[in-house]
């Protein structure tokens, strides 16, 4: 046992802010001080607080260092590792024996993410040391497949990919389905903008997914599994490849696992950039090497899936829950959460919230608790306007609904969905019409084009929204949007189309006034839509520095240096915002409505 363990987050986000250079410096610094025997550096998966990266956690002291640069390492090694004096200026908060005392962690309940940030994901020994593959051993040697399914069903686990189908029921359907062979698929085609929990799990604890898949395969009677992962996630692909090789080498995948009659192996398949492949029938088509287009259900994959055979398909986070349920029991699992939504859910917090990153909280926590207690609230001077939850399939809930508990049913009731767990906090600088348009652009663009409601309907909705943000909308357009939205919800072929109108419908429901302002007053109250605002210069704030005049591409600003104020000639202004960006004194102001 080393005296100190330095856990260095090497998830994608921290790598992109320079974690590997910090590791290099740490290893060199530790060696230079002759501490290699006493201090070990461990690369781990995502710890959660991505915007503070690169992040270091030093055990046993429980010291959290944030935004570490290679240049800081020398000081950390000589002061902290050698002399035991943590470097105060780099600490997240005061040193604490338990990270739980940091508010970001206090309300979290880490089950799925328990190992992320704690173990080296590229060493199977570390996974085994924290109880890895024990659940598989228990299933194979002490339980029948039916007992495994009963346990999962009793736990109340529901699919974490968004729709929330009861996992035990799905497993049961595949077990009962006629046909051989059967397949298990892990849906790792995480594509919802703003959601990255599956990536964190694959990068930080890949074996937990493999173990969940193996248990599922035993339960349903499959010998072959596939993980379908996005090509946009090369680090996740690499970590999975390492994990697969190590598991095979140890006999935890392959023939006769734990000397039982059960054999199971997993193959990796990469996508090639198509959001719709996250839909299960499209994903199956893509694994078969075809265009990733969905097909009507039934038949469901449980009876006719991959290569026409019975197929179990669950998402990454769902599989990662499985081992915990088998080891600690269904009753333990179902104590966490609400009546209908059990366990925890991982959310990706983003937008106007102090702590962004990945958090895992019990189901049933309210949005207010999630955003203000875990997320630290909105930055000073900002005001929460809405919460976008569930990505492009989800909806925008207003501040008045912050006390809604986060569970599958409640969110649906208010026009949002759990989705994969992206949460974007929006403040008064966000225009809800524009937000709705943004998500619709995304889904219209990603529509595979197979069914008419989605291919044509989303384009029609989008053209209406484009009219609105140009200030050419009429009030009947809102009725038309709602009609189209409901039509697409009820008639599109797959989940992508059926949920795509949600952002528009939910903003129409809660922010209708803002839509009406775009129509009646030709004004964007948030000052976002360029056709519905104008810029003015506040004469009291203007210092006549001339920067705005130089930034203006159309010569729409007049004034003489050192003699304030400057003025904007509205008839020449194209509302590009260059002056707004250029002004160092905040003297250029956005005003709703056309040139006034």
């Amino acid at each position: 046992m080393k005296r100190l363990s330095v856990l260095l987050c090497s998830g994608s986000a921290c790598q992109s802010s320079g974690a590997l250079a910090v590791k290099q410096a740490l290893v060199e610094g530790i060696a230079a001080h002759g501490l290699s025997e006493e201090v070990q550096v461990v690369e781990t998966g995502c710890m959660g607080p991505c915007e503070l990266g690169p992040v270091l956690l030093v055990y046993p002291d429980g010291v959290y260092y944030v935004r570490v640069k290679p240049g800081d390492v020398q000081e950390i090694v000589s002061e902290h590792f050698l002399k035991g004096r943590p470097v105060q200026r780099l600490l997240w908060t005061a040193p604490a024996p338990e990270p739980r005392s940091i508010p970001f962690f206090a309300r979290q309940r880490k089950i799925v993410l328990a190992n992320c940030g704690q173990i080296d994901p590229e060493r199977i020994e570390e996974y085994i040391a924290v109880g890895g593959y024990e659940a598989l051993a228990k299933a194979l040697t002490e339980m029948t497949p039916d007992q495994v399914i009963a346990e999962i069903a009793r736990s109340g686990l529901r699919g974490r990919g968004g729709a929330g189908f009861p996992t035990g029921k799905k497993w049961q359907a595949v077990r009962e389905a006629q046909g051989n062979p059967k397949y298990v698929i892990c849906n790792a085609d995480e594509g919802d903008p703003g959601a990255f929990m599956d990536r964190a799990i694959l990068e930080g604890d890949p074996h937990s997914v493999l173990e969940g898949m193996a248990i599922a395969a035993y339960a349903v009677g499959a010998e072959k599994g596939y993980i379908y992962v996005r090509a946009e996630y090369p680090l996740a692909v690499k970590r999975l490849e390492v994990a697969l090789a190590q598991a095979r080498k140890m006999g935890l995948l392959g023939p006769r696992i734990f000397d039982t009659a059960f054999s199971f192996d997993v193959e990796l398949r990469m996508g090639a950039g198509a959001f719709v492949c996250g839909e299960e029938t499209a994903l199956i088509a893509s694994i078969e090497g075809k265009r990733g287009e969905p097909r009507p259900r039934p038949p469901y994959p449980a009876t006719s899936g991959l290569f026409g055979k019975p197929t179990l398909i669950n998402n990454v986070e769902t599989f990662a829950n499985v081992r915990h349920i088998l080891l600690q029991g269904a009753s333990w699992f179902s104590q966490v959460g609400t009546e209908t939504s059990k366990g925890t859910k991982v959310f990706a917090l983003a937008g106007q919230v102090k702590n962004t990153g990945l958090v895992e909280v019990p189901m049933g926590i309210t949005l207010r608790e999630l955003i203000f207690e875990v997320g630290g609230g909105v930055p000073a001077g900002r005001e929460l306007k809405a919460v976008q939850i569930g990505g492009p399939s989800g909806g925008c809930l207003p501040a008045a609904l912050l006390d809604v508990p986060i569970d599958y049913e409640s969110l649906k009731q208010y026009g949002a969905i759990m989705g994969s767990g992206g949460v974007i906090v929006l403040d008064n600088t966000s225009c809800m019409v524009n937000v709705a348009k943004f998500f619709l652009e995304f889904t219209a663009d990603e529509s595979c084009g197979k069914c008419v409601p989605c291919r044509v309907g989303l384009r029609l909705m989008l053209s209406i929204l484009e009219k609105l943000v140009r200030g050419e909308g009429e009030e009947t357009d809102l009725v038309r949007l709602e009609e189209l939205g409901r039509l697409i919800q009820s008639s599109a072929l797959c989940g992508l189309g059926q949920t795509a109108p949600n952002p528009v419908l939910s903003t129409l429901r809660y922010f209708r006034e803002e839509y009406l302002a775009h129509i009646r007053d030709k004004a964007c109250p948030a000052g976002v839509c360029p056709d519905l605002l104008h810029y003015v210069i506040d004469p009291d704030l203007c210092r006549a520095c001339d920067l705005c005049r130089r930034a203006c591409p159309t010569g729409a600003i007049s004034g003489t240096p050192k003699t304030p104020p400057y003025r904007i000639l509205q008839e020449k202004c194209i509302r590009c915002g260059a002056c707004f960006e250029a002004c160092p004194f905040g003297a250029v102001l956005k005003r709703p409505g056309r040139k006034g």
Binding site: S12, A13, Q15, S16, S17, P49, C50, E51, G53, E190, G191, D192, P193, G194, A195, F196, D198, R199, A231, E232, Y233, P234, L235, R269, M270, G271, A272, G273, A274, F275, S286, I287, E288, G289, K290, R291, G292, E293, F307, A348, A350, G351, T356, G357, L358, Q388, G422, I424, S430, V435, F438, F439, F442, E446, C448
Partner: protein, 152 residues
Amino acid sequence: MDKHALVQKFPRSPDVLLALLHALQRANPQNYLTPADLQLAAEHLGLPLSRVRDAVTFYTMFSLRPRGRHILRVCASPNCHLAGAWSVLDELKQVLDVEVGETTPDGLFTLELTSCLGACGVAPVMMVDEEVFGNLTPERVREIISRIRREG
């Protein structure tokens, strides 16, 4: 590597088509699939050429036109959007003097947009080939581009 040798590493099973196409595309310094590549894939897997083209044209990561040696993919999802991805994109367009989808005349870069890269905590983000760069600013983008230009 010789393309024929490369193809032989894949089983003759139609479901490996996407993996085979990824490998063929990567083997081409211009990051695209040539008509000969499609033919080769079709023959190896025993598929009609139309079926191979059918798949290739569906997925955004495959290109039938020559691209740059490095592919820049700027994330265009909401979190990056809110964090200023557009100013990053404008800077790239200016530094490289290309529009989205175009390749620089020296054949070094192709500028593309991508859906969410899942690194939202460090938005705005882009990928250069297989590497993720976060917390982008126009300055940082310029640095990254000039570094790659130096390295070739």
